[in-house]
Symmetry: C2
Subunit: 233 residues, 2 copies
């Protein structure tokens, strides 16, 4: 729920209030980013619709990166379900219960850092609230944005939620094992729609159920991790 | 995008601003509701995640209710895609382009009414922005809330987005033709999760691809339409 949300109504919530809100968030995000970079932690903001497969992705990632130090925090309006799934998968994780908020912000992430031994991590996955709109504009201090889009959601989603896909460093097309059962739906059309809003997109298609595409995802993670290590050195 | 969104940050957007926002919206929604009731129009707020099947539902409804007078408005951040699909399906429809807003509000709907011959309608479908959070708290003047949840989204969604499901007059579990391909997913678990947040839920499971459940949906529509007709008489 978003009972504090003045989205789209500048007549009521004045512009200077919005600007101040985002400026404050950006300041806190820069502070978070410094923390992550100094400690050589690759922090990723994992975003996507409810049920697109964010948690399943991280469960599969835990198996793939068994020898590495992973940490996670997951945002949800209610329940500790995702946190519990991630801990069961072997990732020390905590839940940020947002209550009324439809997205994470840099302050919520910073508070949560106090309860997680994040400095021990090589990879810190920040699983955002399921939402293709609001999370896109709140910087958390991450090194990269990963946007997860299930192929069950419809080929035109990048066009209908352009900001999210413009700001994606990587798009993961998930649940591709279901493509044979989705009449008329083609991965090529998803890629074409993504290319229209993001001229040079990085994307991987994968299925955690069928084990497809995970090697490419892990390679992308390793490559991004290397950049952080170099900036620390 | 939601660059005007103060969600979850009462330190920055003061409480009286939020209260004023929602009070103004409720006032406009009451005005819309009077319009709909005086004209005997059944207005429905159709909500759900991106890609849950809201537009496909309305396309199938157009076939089922071929002899009736249907109208629609659909909200999206960008594109006229849904409006175009609905018009192609024979429903006079317009698109409310929200730009930055993650939900429809009563004022946007009221403005849109000026461009649609809604008084001619028996049924007015208001297809909200794809989002399981923010649309739930903005009354539009509808007679009922219909929440669409695809069975690909995960069984715990009612628990994780409780406000949306608490306020649902009807929940439609869509894409049930995919259930045989979703390992371990059971419709009974969706229903159990819904029952935990909404003690007496109305729900229908359906598939527009397989043509299942549409007769129950059309019966529900007819029953709700009858209530409006009685209140006019």
């Amino acid at each position: 729920m978003c009972d504090t949300c003045g989205c789209g109504d500048p007549e009521i919530v004045p512009v200077h209030v919005h600007e101040s809100l985002l400026a404050n968030n950006d300041r806190q995000a820069s502070h978070n980013r410094e923390h992550f970079q100094e400690s050589g932690v690759l922090a990723l903001n994992i975003m996507g619709s409810p049920g697109c497969g964010k948690t399943a992705l991280l469960e599969a990632t835990a198996v793939q990166l068994g020898g590495h130090r992973l940490r996670a925090m997951s945002g949800d309006l209610a329940t500790d379900n995702d946190g519990a799934r991630l801990r069961a998968a072997g990732i020390p994780s905590l839940t940020i219960t947002t209550g009324t908020a439809c997205h994470l912000d840099a302050r919520l992430v910073h508070h949560a850092l106090h309860d997680l031994d994040w400095q021990a991590a090589e990879y810190l996955f920040i699983e955002n609230v399921g939402n293709l709109v609001c999370p896109a504009i709140y910087d958390l201090g991450q090194a990269a944005n990963v946007v997860v889009l299930s192929v069950t959601e419809g080929e035109d989603k990048p066009l209908k939620y352009p900001v999210m896909f413009q700001r994606a460093d990587l798009v993961l097309f998930t649940k591709i094992d279901l493509l044979p059962y989705l009449p008329g739906i083609k991965l090529a059309n998803y890629i074409a729609a993504l290319s229209r809003v993001n001229p040079n997109p990085r994307y991987i298609s994968l299925s955690t159920v069928a084990g497809q595409g995970l090697d490419q995802w892990v390679a992308w993670l390793a490559e991004r991790k290397l950049r952080i290590a170099k900036s620390v050195a």
